[in-house]
Subunit: 219 residues, 2 copies
DNA sequence: ATTACTATAGTGCGAGTAA
DNA sequence: TTTACTCGCACTATAGTAA
C-alpha cells in the first residue's frame, strides 16, 4: 500500500465514493490528482486489487465506491490528523488480552525500577504485566504515547545487564487504576503493557482473547 | 510537492515537530515511515528545500520543526478529512472580491436560465455576479460544492451556442440572501460566483480586494 | 467517449560508503 | 554515532495507441 494510493483513495472519497457508487472517469481523477489519465487508471486498478475500492465497470466509464477496508484506512488517517490538531488528554484504547513470555514480570521486579514506581506512580505494582494487543483502529492513539513524555523512570545497569529508561502513563482499566509502561527507546509495536497494584488478570477475571478498554491520561 | 513528502511531514508532526524543535534522526524517521535512513534523509532535505520545515543541524543529529507553511499544509489536509467524516451543512467560505470580465453577467442574463432561477431559487437575480477569489485555506470547503448536487439549473442551446448545466447553493453574504452558482462540469478553480436579488457590490459597498465571508448551505 | 496496454523516460529507493 | 553522497536497480509516470 503506497502513499500515493492513499491520496487517490481520499480524492475518490471527496468525489462521493465514500458511501455510494460514484461515476469517476480516470481522466477526472487524474485531473484532480494532477497526474495523467493513464496513471489514474493504473491507480484505480491498484486500489481495486488491494481491496480498497469496489468497481462497477460499464462500457463507457466506471462506478467506484470505497470498500469497508478503504473507509477504515481513511478513518485511521483522519484520526492521526485529529490527534495532531485536537489532542485529547484522555484516550480510550482497545485491545485483546494475551499472554506474554513473562519478560514484563522480570523487568518490573527489578528493585531499582520498583523504588521509582513507588515514588513516581505512588503505588508499588504487582510483579507482572497485563499484555494487551491494541486494535489497529486505536494504533494512532497508542502511538501518541511513544512520542509523549510521560512519567520518566530512569534506567540502570545491574549485574552487567542494561535496563533502559522507561516511561509510564496513568490510567484505568475497568475502573481499576493502572499505568501503561513502555520503553523510552520504543520501536513500532501494538503491545500495550499495563501494571497496577493488583494482578489485573485475576482481579478482573481476564483471559486470553478478552477485549478490554483502557483509559489513559496523557499528562 | 510530492505526496510522499506530505506523509513524512505528518509523521514529523506526530513526532512532536508540529510546534517545537524536535530531535529527529533520519534513521528514526525512516523506521517510522518504513523507508531507509537514506531515503528519510533525502525526504528531510526536500521538505526543508520546500520550506515546509525548519532545520537546526548539529554534528550528531538535527532538530526539526514544521514551518508555518508546513503546518498550513497539514491543516488543509486535516480539513479535507474532517469534511469527509464530519460534513457540515453550513460552511463559511472566505475570499477576496475581484472584478471578472462580465461573463457571469452575460450568462445569467439568458432568459432560459432566468426562468429557472425564479422557479428554483425563488428569486430573480440581479444581472451580474460577484466574483470572489476563495482563500487557499477554504478551498477544501469550496471544492465540496463541486462534488455536491446542489440546485440543478438545466442548460440549453441558444443561437447555436451551448449553455451548460449549472448548479446553485443558497447562502448569505453579510446577511443578504444570495446563491453560489457554478458550472456542473467544473474544473479546478478558486473563483466563487455569487448571485442575489440585488447588486451585491453596490448594496454592500464592496470594492476589489475586500475580504468577505459567505455562508453556504449544502442541502 | 471510455479503459488500459506497451514502450520509454524519469524518479525514488536502498546499499555502500565518505565525512 | 550522525548526515548525505553516488550508483544501480526497480518502480512509476507519460505518450502513443488499441479496443
Amino acid at each position: 500500500m503506497k502513499q500515493v494510493h492513499a491520496t487517490a483513495l481520499k480524492q475518490l472519497a471527496i468525489m462521493g465514493a465514500l458511501n455510494a457508487f460514484t461515476e469517476v472517469t480516470s481522466k477526472r481523477l487524474g485531473e484532480a490528482l494532477g497526474i495523467s489519465q493513464q496513471a489514474a487508471s493504473m491507480t484505480i486498478l491498484k486500489l481495486a486489487e488491494s481491496g480498497l475500492i469496489e468497481r462497477q465497470i460499464g462500457h463507457k466509464g466506471q462506478r467506484l465506491m470505497l470498500s469497508p477496508k478503504g473507509v477504515e484506512l481513511l478513518k485511521k488517517e483522519y484520526l492521526e490528523y485529529k490527534l495532531l490538531f485536537e489532542p485529547a488528554k484522555r484516550m480510550q484504547i482497545h485491545g485483546t488480552v494475551f499472554s506474554g513470555l513473562g519478560e514484563g514480570k522480570y523487568y518490573i521486579s527489578q528493585p531499582k525500577y520498583k523504588q521509582q514506581f513507588l515514588k513516581k506512580l505512588l503505588f508499588e505494582p504487582f510483579e507482572g504485566t497485563l499484555n494487551i494487543r491494541v486494535v489497529p483502529a486505536d494504533m494512532p492513539l497508542f502511538q501518541r504515547l511513544s512520542y509523549s513524555e510521560g512519567i520518566r523512570i530512569e534506567g540502570f545497569v545491574s549485574k552487567g545487564r542494561t535496563f533502559g529508561d522507561v516511561k509510564c502513563f496513568l490510567g484505568r482499566i475497568q475502573g481499576i487504576e493502572c499505568s501503561v509502561i513502555l520503553p523510552v527507546r520504543t520501536h513500532y509495536t501494538d503491545v500495550m503493557e499495563l501494571i497496577a497494584r493488583e494482578n489485573l488478570r485475576s482481579r478482573l477475571s481476564l483471559h486470553d482473547g478478552d477485549i478490554v478498554e483502557a483509559e489513559v491520561e496523557m499528562d
